[in-house]
């Protein structure tokens, strides 16, 4: 597990070099002045509107794939644009595991995201983790699609 986390961090540095996340973040905060319905910059709503809030995991895994890294680089950019914002990372699991193990797995997933953010320069102090195990699915249904959507971490900006 340790090895895969390291390789993900290495991969993320490559992605960071050409990520468009920071620009998107900048646009969003600029748009806040003109558009009537745009959320206030730096708020939870602004985060949801301008950074993808969740990443997905394979069954019983907590390592970050390429798409997760891309999403998290967007979150990093936003968090750097708003250095006072704090986040809570919610870790979740699908329903195909036992309750207690899934609580631990959710924590491990959330922690994997926290470690990535830390490696990208987002201070530990700004990031909390909480696991919901299989208690709070995002998508209902006992099928592959729902399970894949539910094996996730969700980054929530603290109010």
């Amino acid at each position: 597990m340790k090895i895969s986390v390291l390789s993900v961090v290495a991969a993320s540095l490559l992605v960071a070099a050409c990520a468009s996340g920071p620009q998107e973040g900048g646009d969003a905060s600029g748009a806040g002045k003109g558009a009537v319905n745009a959320p206030a910059p730096g708020t939870a709503a602004d985060f949801v509107a301008n950074a993808k809030d969740r990443v997905f995991f394979a069954f019983d895994r907590s390592d970050l794939d390429e798409s997760a890294v891309k999403t998290l680089m967007g979150q990093v950019a936003w968090l750097k644009a708003y250095p006072n914002a704090k986040v809570s990372i919610e870790g979740h699991a699908d329903e195909r595991g036992t309750r207690e193990y899934n609580l631990a797995l959710g924590e491990r997933r959330a922690n994997s995201v926290k470690q990535f953010l830390k490696a990208q320069g987002v201070s530990d102090a700004r990031v909390q983790v909480i696991s919901y195990g299989k208690e709070r699915p995002a998508v209902v249904g006992s099928n592959e699609y729902a399970w894949a959507q539910n094996r996730r971490s969700v980054t929530v900006v603290a109010k």
Partner: protein, 472 residues
């Protein structure tokens, strides 16, 4: 609540001492039990008639698919109120015994003899004619002090012998407990195993759609009676477990958005957070003596097992790996702990000494293993298994040998033992479709033999059952 403590006190107070019991036995031998009653001996627990060679005995180590027919006529009463209670009592005794799967209550319309009093001997041919193997004869009376007196005798119909006789005095409001105690007594006498009917279930009551599920702590008697909710659903609560005294539970709550292990006193309603841990605590269970709680703490992506002494509040870390170590359960002698861990790559069961030393893996089969629970008898470990996309409830010996799967489904999880280690309860959740239809969750019980699987009736959907020990 006080119901339980008061009946316990009463029953305890009036249990005849060993010496008295011996005298009683001598007396019954000399005069017979009936004579003793006629002479006005007031006793709460009547001496057992020591019959060494009764024919009626059930072997429950083999799945008994042919339940023993037993007749339990309404317990007669001195007046209308006592008679009503007597009929209800007999009904509860019969329902308990039938739910065990080992007995079949004979329809009262088939009865030939009716009992006007306890002094009437059964006419055994009348009961043999309807093939009643056992006969429970009972009587209720409301005493002048307002208390309820219940006596019963168990007859072996074909051997024409009394094989058990007891009497109880208690507040009338406790009549259901007396019925469960009588059912336990009959079960014990006929199976040689201790009973489990005088016990309770704590579980999680569930309402609402899957994505906004409301969960509440709920408690009920083993047969579903005296149901009540202990929390209002404002906080997510999970995995309650009884202390050996049955007056306290430990569970996990997201109170104030912080997931931690709590203690809850059923009598007082007092709740307290257990310890001051820097990470999420979960998967709590009491030690067999009730003085410690063992649980997991998750932090930094790994979950380890901790034990907390409830008297000194000292905590001790028992595992220390980057893996997920959780769902710990003590052996009944407190010497060992079984838990599940993914330290070997996938979820498997491990056993260690109570101080964390001597960790060794006990499962090597295909699939993932979880939620191990040591039987109160020490002879088995029950578990949840996941293999080929299905879930199973099974048991194995503590060394991992002799695995037997008792039930399976889309999702069956979280076995808990009846106090006698003969019956398991768990929850079963059905699959749901993409619109969220289905997905309902209910409690089930099953005999250790794999027979007699049946739904445990709850007022709403249910999960995470925990069976109490026998109520002290």
């Amino acid at each position: 609540m006080c119901v339980y403590s008061s009946v316990r006190r009463i029953v305890c107070n009036e249990v005849v001492s060993k010496r008295e019991n011996v005298m009683m036995k001598a007396w019954s031998r000399a005069r017979g039990w009936i004579g003793a009653t006629l002479l006005g001996l007031v006793l709460s627990v009547v001496g057992e008639a020591g019959v060494a060679h009764a024919e009626l005995r059930i072997d429950i180590t083999r799945g008994n698919v042919d339940p023993i027919p037993i007749a339990i006529p309404a317990f007669g009463g001195d007046d209308e109120r006592a008679s009503r209670l007597g009929a209800d009592l007999a009904g509860v005794v019969q329902a308990d015994l039938e739910r065990s799967g080992l007995f079949r209550g004979i329809d009262s319309r088939a009865f030939i003899q009716t009992f006007a009093s306890m002094q009437v001997q059964p006419r055994f041919p009348d009961w043999q004619a309807i093939n009643a193997q056992g006969l429970v004869q009972g009587r209720t009376a409301l005493q002048s002090d307002g208390r309820l007196r219940v006596e019963f005798r168990l007859w072996d119909v074909f051997a024409t012998q009394q094989i058990k006789a007891q009497a109880y005095v208690t507040e009338p409001g406790n009549w259901r407990r007396i019925a469960h105690i009588i059912a336990d007594s009959v079960y014990e006498r006929l199976t040689g195993e201790s009973g489990y009917f005088d016990s309770r279930i704590i579980y999680i009551a569930e309402n609402g759609p899957a994505i906004k599920r409301v969960k509440r702590l709920a408690i009920m008697d083993q047969d579903g009676a005296n149901h009540r909710f202990l929390t209002d659903g404002a906080d997510l609560v999970l995995t309650p477990r009884f202390s050996p005294s049955t007056q306290e539970i430990t569970y996990m709550s997201y109170y104030n958005g912080v997931p931690r292990v709590y203690l809850y006193n059923i009598d007082t309603g007092k709740r307290e957070r257990l310890g001051d841990f820097p990470g999420m605590t979960f998967a709590p269970r009491f030690s067999p003596d009730g003085n410690r709680v063992i649980m997991s703490m998750a932090r930094g992506g790994s979950s380890d097992i901790y034990v907390m002494d409830l008297r000194t509040l000292e905590r001790r870390r028992l595992t220390n790996t980057p893996a997920i170590d959780t769902s710990p359960s003590y052996s009944p002698d407190s010497q060992r702990i079984v838990f599940n861990s993914d330290r070997g790559g996938s979820q498997q069961l491990y056993v260690m000494n109570a101080d964390g030393s001597g960790v060794h893996r006990i499962t090597h089969g295909n699939g993932r293993y979880a939620t191990p629970v040591w039987s109160p008898r020490g002879d088995y470990i029950a578990f949840t298994k996941m293999a080929q996309g299905r879930f199973f409830i099974g048991v194995m010996k503590p060394d991992g040998s002799g695995e037997r799967l008792l039930s399976d489904g889309y999702l069956v999880e979280g076995p808990t033992w009846a106090p006698n280690g003969r019956v398991l309860m768990y929850f079963r959740q059905n699959p749901s479709d993409a619109r969220g239809q289905g997905g309902d969750s209910y409690l089930y019980s099953i005999d250790l033999t794999g027979y007699n699987e049946r739904r445990v009736v709850t007022p709403v959907q249910a999960s995470d059952p925990a069976w109490s020990p026998l109520i002290p």
